[in-house]
């Protein structure tokens, strides 16, 4: 954490530069959304830019580029928890509990509707 007034003075230029870059990236995100990139590429580009912007806010404005180890420790645990939350939807797709494996076809019908 900066504590020295002179160091803070030097950081102001960085804050302004990052602010400017965030605005430029916002313009790029909006422009890219109007291009016909397709769903998969469109989502990838938008989330990639959002991740870059988020990292800049965290590293520079929230001073995470130079923090104490206790804060990094808490954040590593948070990231693990966050990733678990993000994978929950995948488990619902893979979930086959309760799905019949062999469906007996009614009499007079061919299996699987053929």
């Amino acid at each position: 954490m900066h504590s020295d007034s002179a160091e803070v003075q030097k950081s102001i230029r960085t804050y302004m530069m990052v602010g400017g870059m965030l605005l430029v990236f916002t313009a790029i995100t909006v422009a890219a959304s109007y291009l016909s990139l397709g769903v998969a590429l469109g989502i990838t580009v938008a989330l990639l830019i959002a991740t870059m912007k988020g990292s800049m806010v965290a590293a520079v404005f929230m001073h995470l580029s130079h923090e104490k180890k206790w804060i990094y420790g808490a954040l590593i645990l948070t990231i693990v928890g966050f990733l678990v939350l993000m994978t929950v939807p995948m488990f619902t797709v893979m979930d086959t509990i309760g799905t019949p494996i062999h469906v007996a076809a009614p009499a007079g019908e061919h299996p699987a509707g053929h």
Partner: protein, 194 residues
């Protein structure tokens, strides 16, 4: 009663208690918004179709610009205190508050336009998650504004009594505010553009 480690760092953590406290709070906030983002993914995967560019993109983009500018003014409010520039700090804090206010006014226009068209949360799965995510984010903006108003008004007296503690309070408010900005940085493309 004096609360210890409001200014000086604890020997074991190397941090003032407030700093660790605000980061633990933000960690819980990541999980709160993370659960809702996860819900969004689940709903979107399961939906037969999903609207594209249905929301007001220019207004959403303007709100993104407002929040980015407010993050810059917030960090400048803290930097001004570190450089002992009280007047500049007041200006930057007031600017942050006003930018947040304009954000909420824009959001209220957006909500009103939806309501006029009969687009309530029950209208579609997309609107249900849209109102949930943006509503929760809006409450966070309001919470930040209340804290800023306190630090601009009655809470500002602490600067004369204990400038370092006041600077720390501004720093913690800033950390919360940047987090609110960070959440919007993801909400904007996810809801407005994809």
């Amino acid at each position: 009663m004096n609360i210890p480690y409001t200014v000086e760092e604890r020997p074991d953590t190397g941090l003032a208690n407030g700093k660790l406290g605000i980061w633990l709070f933000l960690a819980s906030e990541v999980m709160l918004f993370g659960a809702l983002f996860s819900t969004y993914i689940l709903l979107r995967i399961g939906a037969p179709s999903w609207p594209h560019h249905e929301l007001n993109v220019p207004l959403g983009a303007v709100n993104t610009v407002l929040l980015i500018c407010s993050s810059v003014t917030m960090v400048m409010a803290w930097a001004s205190l570190k450089m002992n520039k009280w007047g500049a700090h007041r200006g930057y804090l007031a600017a942050t508050f006003l930018l947040a206010l304009v954000f909420l006014i824009n959001k209220s226009f957006e909500y009103a336009a939806h309501f006029r068209g009969g687009e309530y949360p029950s209208h579609s799965t997309f609107l249900a998650i849209y109102y949930t995510l943006t509503g929760l984010h809006g409450i966070h903006i309001l919470g930040g504004m209340i804290v800023m108003a306190y630090l601009f008004g009655p809470g500002a007296k602490l600067w004369k009594k204990n400038p370092e503690q006041f600077t720390n309070r501004i720093e913690y408010t800033g950390l919360y505010w940047h987090f609110v900005d960070l959440v919007w940085i993801f909400l904007f493309p996810v809801l407005y553009l994809l």
